[in-house]
Protein backbone atom coordinates (compact mmCIF):
# COMPACT_ATOMS: atom_id res chain seq x y z
CA UNK A 1 0.00 0.00 0.00
CA UNK A 2 1.39 3.40 -0.95
CA UNK A 3 2.29 5.63 1.94
CA UNK A 4 0.47 8.66 0.52
CA UNK A 5 -2.27 9.12 -2.07
CA UNK A 6 -4.47 12.05 -3.08
CA UNK A 7 -7.24 11.19 -0.62
CA UNK A 8 -4.71 11.79 2.16
CA UNK A 9 -3.98 15.31 0.95
CA UNK A 10 -6.14 18.26 1.94
CA UNK A 11 -5.34 21.72 0.61
CA UNK A 12 -6.95 25.07 1.40
CA UNK A 13 -8.25 23.61 4.62
CA UNK A 14 -10.07 26.01 6.93
CA UNK A 15 -9.36 24.11 10.15
CA UNK A 16 -8.75 26.54 12.99
CA UNK A 17 -6.70 24.79 15.66
CA UNK A 18 -4.34 21.93 16.44
CA UNK A 19 -7.12 19.78 17.84
CA UNK A 20 -9.19 20.14 14.66
CA UNK A 21 -6.18 19.21 12.54
CA UNK A 22 -5.49 16.06 14.56
CA UNK A 23 -9.18 15.12 14.38
CA UNK A 24 -9.06 15.56 10.63
CA UNK A 25 -5.92 13.44 10.26
CA UNK A 26 -7.58 10.64 12.25
CA UNK A 27 -10.75 10.96 10.14
CA UNK A 28 -8.89 10.76 6.83
CA UNK A 29 -6.84 7.78 7.99
CA UNK A 30 -9.93 5.95 9.27
CA UNK A 31 -11.83 6.64 6.05
CA UNK A 32 -8.94 5.16 4.12
CA UNK A 33 -8.91 2.07 6.35
CA UNK A 34 -5.41 2.82 7.53
CA UNK A 35 -6.18 2.94 11.26
CA UNK A 36 -8.43 0.65 13.28
CA UNK A 37 -9.52 3.07 15.99
CA UNK A 38 -9.44 6.87 15.58
CA UNK A 39 -9.83 7.52 19.31
CA UNK A 40 -6.95 5.25 20.27
CA UNK A 41 -4.87 6.68 17.45
CA UNK A 42 -5.47 10.24 18.64
CA UNK A 43 -4.52 9.27 22.17
CA UNK A 44 -1.17 8.02 20.90
CA UNK A 45 -0.66 11.17 18.81
CA UNK A 46 -1.26 13.36 21.88
CA UNK A 47 1.03 11.20 23.99
CA UNK A 48 3.83 12.01 21.55
CA UNK A 49 2.88 15.72 21.48
CA UNK A 50 3.17 15.80 25.26
CA UNK A 51 6.73 14.48 25.20
CA UNK A 52 7.82 17.19 22.78
CA UNK A 53 5.72 19.41 20.57
CA UNK A 54 6.00 18.37 16.94
CA UNK A 55 6.00 21.88 15.54
CA UNK A 56 9.36 22.24 13.88
CA UNK A 57 9.37 25.94 13.04
CA UNK A 58 9.16 27.38 9.52
CA UNK A 59 5.38 26.94 9.60
CA UNK A 60 5.48 23.16 9.71
CA UNK A 61 4.22 20.61 12.25
CA UNK A 62 4.61 16.85 12.04
CA UNK A 63 2.32 15.08 14.51
CA UNK A 64 3.37 11.43 14.44
CA UNK A 65 3.02 8.14 16.22
CA UNK A 66 4.02 4.54 16.05
CA UNK A 67 0.81 3.02 17.33
CA UNK A 68 -0.96 -0.32 17.57
CA UNK A 69 -4.04 1.34 16.08
CA UNK A 70 -2.22 1.98 12.81
CA UNK A 71 -2.68 -0.73 10.18
CA UNK A 72 -0.72 0.74 7.27
CA UNK A 73 2.11 3.27 7.35
CA UNK A 74 0.64 6.51 6.08
CA UNK A 75 1.24 10.17 5.52
CA UNK A 76 -1.44 12.85 5.63
CA UNK A 77 -0.72 16.32 4.30
CA UNK A 78 -2.92 19.20 5.40
CA UNK A 79 -2.29 22.71 4.14
CA UNK A 80 -4.23 25.40 5.97
CA UNK A 81 -5.70 28.61 4.62
CA UNK A 82 -4.88 30.40 7.86
CA UNK A 83 -1.98 30.03 10.24
CA UNK A 84 -2.78 28.35 13.53
CA UNK A 85 -1.16 27.91 16.94
CA UNK A 86 0.65 24.66 17.58
CA UNK A 87 1.70 24.85 21.21
CA UNK A 88 4.30 27.63 21.34
CA UNK A 89 4.38 28.11 17.58
CA UNK A 90 1.91 30.65 16.22
CA UNK A 91 2.27 30.34 12.46
CA UNK A 92 1.73 26.72 11.48
CA UNK A 93 0.08 26.13 8.12
CA UNK A 94 1.68 22.97 6.75
CA UNK A 95 1.05 19.73 8.61
CA UNK A 96 2.31 16.25 7.87
CA UNK A 97 0.57 13.59 9.94
CA UNK A 98 2.70 10.46 10.16
CA UNK A 99 1.28 7.09 11.18
CA UNK A 100 3.38 3.96 11.58
CA UNK A 101 2.17 0.57 12.88
CA UNK A 102 3.54 -0.41 16.27
CA UNK A 103 4.59 -3.85 15.11
CA UNK A 104 6.63 -2.33 12.37
CA UNK A 105 8.97 -4.91 10.95
CA UNK A 106 9.23 -2.96 7.77
CA UNK A 107 12.15 -0.57 7.86
CA UNK A 108 11.21 0.56 4.38
CA UNK A 109 8.47 2.87 5.65
CA UNK A 110 10.72 4.27 8.33
CA UNK A 111 13.21 5.03 5.59
CA UNK A 112 10.56 6.95 3.66
CA UNK A 113 9.67 8.95 6.75
CA UNK A 114 13.28 9.75 7.57
CA UNK A 115 13.74 10.90 3.99
CA UNK A 116 10.72 13.20 4.37
CA UNK A 117 11.99 14.49 7.72
CA UNK A 118 15.31 15.39 6.14
CA UNK A 119 13.61 16.98 3.12
CA UNK A 120 11.52 19.19 5.39
CA UNK A 121 14.69 20.87 6.61
CA UNK A 122 15.30 22.01 3.05
CA UNK A 123 14.03 25.55 2.36
CA UNK A 124 13.28 24.93 -1.31
CA UNK A 125 11.27 21.81 -0.57
CA UNK A 126 9.04 23.64 1.91
CA UNK A 127 8.69 26.65 -0.37
CA UNK A 128 7.54 24.44 -3.23
CA UNK A 129 4.99 22.70 -1.01
CA UNK A 130 3.57 26.05 0.06
CA UNK A 131 3.30 27.15 -3.57
CA UNK A 132 1.57 24.09 -5.02
CA UNK A 133 -2.11 24.85 -5.30
CA UNK A 134 -3.80 21.69 -6.43
CA UNK A 135 -3.82 18.09 -5.28
CA UNK A 136 -2.55 16.69 -8.54
CA UNK A 137 0.61 18.77 -8.58
CA UNK A 138 1.15 18.22 -4.87
CA UNK A 139 0.81 14.47 -5.28
CA UNK A 140 3.16 14.56 -8.25
CA UNK A 141 5.70 16.45 -6.15
CA UNK A 142 5.43 13.97 -3.27
CA UNK A 143 5.35 10.89 -5.48
CA UNK A 144 9.03 10.22 -4.84
CA UNK A 145 8.02 9.13 -1.33
CA UNK A 146 6.07 6.21 -2.77
CA UNK A 147 8.96 5.31 -5.02
CA UNK A 148 11.86 5.18 -2.55
CA UNK A 149 13.64 1.86 -2.82
CA UNK A 150 15.56 0.17 -0.03
Amino acid sequence: MEIINDTLIELNSDLQCKEDVINRIAFLLAENHRISDPIGFKKDIYKREKELSTSMGEGVAIPHTQSKFVQHSSLVLIKLKNKIHWDDDKNISLIFGIAVPYENKDNHHLKILSTLARKLMNDDFRKKLYQLENKQDTMKYLKFLNEIKD
Binding site: E51, I62, I98, L110, K111, T115, R118
Partner: protein, 105 residues
Protein backbone atom coordinates in the same frame (compact mmCIF):
# COMPACT_ATOMS: atom_id res chain seq x y z
CA UNK B 1 39.46 21.57 9.19
CA UNK B 2 37.63 20.94 12.42
CA UNK B 3 36.06 17.50 12.58
CA UNK B 4 32.77 16.90 14.31
CA UNK B 5 30.95 13.71 15.16
CA UNK B 6 27.37 13.80 16.38
CA UNK B 7 24.63 11.49 17.59
CA UNK B 8 20.94 12.31 17.15
CA UNK B 9 18.13 10.49 18.94
CA UNK B 10 14.55 11.29 19.94
CA UNK B 11 11.72 9.47 21.73
CA UNK B 12 9.77 8.20 18.73
CA UNK B 13 12.75 8.07 16.43
CA UNK B 14 10.63 8.69 13.37
CA UNK B 15 11.22 12.31 12.44
CA UNK B 16 13.16 14.65 14.73
CA UNK B 17 16.25 12.46 14.80
CA UNK B 18 16.59 12.83 11.05
CA UNK B 19 15.69 16.51 10.95
CA UNK B 20 18.36 17.20 13.53
CA UNK B 21 20.89 15.13 11.60
CA UNK B 22 20.11 16.89 8.34
CA UNK B 23 20.40 20.30 9.97
CA UNK B 24 23.70 19.53 11.69
CA UNK B 25 25.16 18.15 8.48
CA UNK B 26 24.06 21.09 6.34
CA UNK B 27 25.14 23.71 8.83
CA UNK B 28 28.52 22.08 9.44
CA UNK B 29 29.20 21.85 5.72
CA UNK B 30 28.29 25.49 5.24
CA UNK B 31 30.71 26.38 8.02
CA UNK B 32 33.43 24.27 6.47
CA UNK B 33 33.58 21.56 9.12
CA UNK B 34 33.87 17.87 8.49
CA UNK B 35 30.96 16.04 10.10
CA UNK B 36 29.56 12.57 10.55
CA UNK B 37 26.18 12.12 12.21
CA UNK B 38 24.93 8.86 13.68
CA UNK B 39 21.15 8.51 13.93
CA UNK B 40 19.54 6.37 16.62
CA UNK B 41 16.00 6.11 15.28
CA UNK B 42 13.31 3.48 15.33
CA UNK B 43 14.91 2.00 12.23
CA UNK B 44 17.94 1.30 14.42
CA UNK B 45 21.39 2.85 14.40
CA UNK B 46 22.41 4.25 11.05
CA UNK B 47 25.70 5.75 9.98
CA UNK B 48 27.33 4.39 13.14
CA UNK B 49 30.41 6.25 14.38
CA UNK B 50 33.51 4.09 14.26
CA UNK B 51 36.24 4.19 16.89
CA UNK B 52 38.39 5.90 14.29
CA UNK B 53 35.72 8.58 13.64
CA UNK B 54 35.52 9.35 17.35
CA UNK B 55 39.28 9.35 17.78
CA UNK B 56 39.75 11.84 14.96
CA UNK B 57 36.94 14.17 16.02
CA UNK B 58 37.68 17.53 17.64
CA UNK B 59 34.20 17.86 19.08
CA UNK B 60 31.29 15.54 19.84
CA UNK B 61 27.71 16.82 19.66
CA UNK B 62 24.94 14.84 21.31
CA UNK B 63 21.53 16.07 20.14
CA UNK B 64 19.21 13.70 21.93
CA UNK B 65 16.18 13.45 24.18
CA UNK B 66 16.74 9.79 24.92
CA UNK B 67 19.65 7.73 26.19
CA UNK B 68 22.65 7.46 23.96
CA UNK B 69 25.59 5.09 24.35
CA UNK B 70 28.05 7.51 26.00
CA UNK B 71 31.05 5.47 27.23
CA UNK B 72 32.70 5.68 23.85
CA UNK B 73 33.09 9.47 24.15
CA UNK B 74 35.15 9.48 27.35
CA UNK B 75 37.91 12.05 27.18
CA UNK B 76 36.40 13.92 24.22
CA UNK B 77 35.19 17.51 24.12
CA UNK B 78 31.47 17.01 24.23
CA UNK B 79 28.46 19.28 23.83
CA UNK B 80 25.03 18.13 25.00
CA UNK B 81 21.96 19.57 23.29
CA UNK B 82 18.35 18.59 22.86
CA UNK B 83 17.16 17.26 19.57
CA UNK B 84 14.91 20.29 19.16
CA UNK B 85 17.91 22.61 19.57
CA UNK B 86 19.44 20.90 16.57
CA UNK B 87 16.21 21.26 14.60
CA UNK B 88 15.37 24.84 15.53
CA UNK B 89 18.49 26.58 16.79
CA UNK B 90 21.37 24.81 15.15
CA UNK B 91 23.35 28.05 14.93
CA UNK B 92 23.54 28.32 18.73
CA UNK B 93 25.12 24.88 18.91
CA UNK B 94 27.82 25.98 16.52
CA UNK B 95 28.29 29.29 18.30
CA UNK B 96 29.11 27.33 21.42
CA UNK B 97 31.58 25.21 19.51
CA UNK B 98 33.29 28.29 18.14
CA UNK B 99 33.30 30.45 21.24
CA UNK B 100 33.01 28.58 24.47
CA UNK B 101 35.30 26.15 26.14
CA UNK B 102 33.58 22.85 25.83
CA UNK B 103 33.88 20.47 28.74
CA UNK B 104 35.59 17.15 28.39
CA UNK B 105 33.36 14.16 28.96
Amino acid sequence: MKKIVAVCACPAGIAHTYMAAENLENFAKRKGYGIKVETNGSAGVENRLSEQNIKEADVVIIAADTKVEMERFKGKKLLMASVSDAVRKVETIFEKIENANIDIY
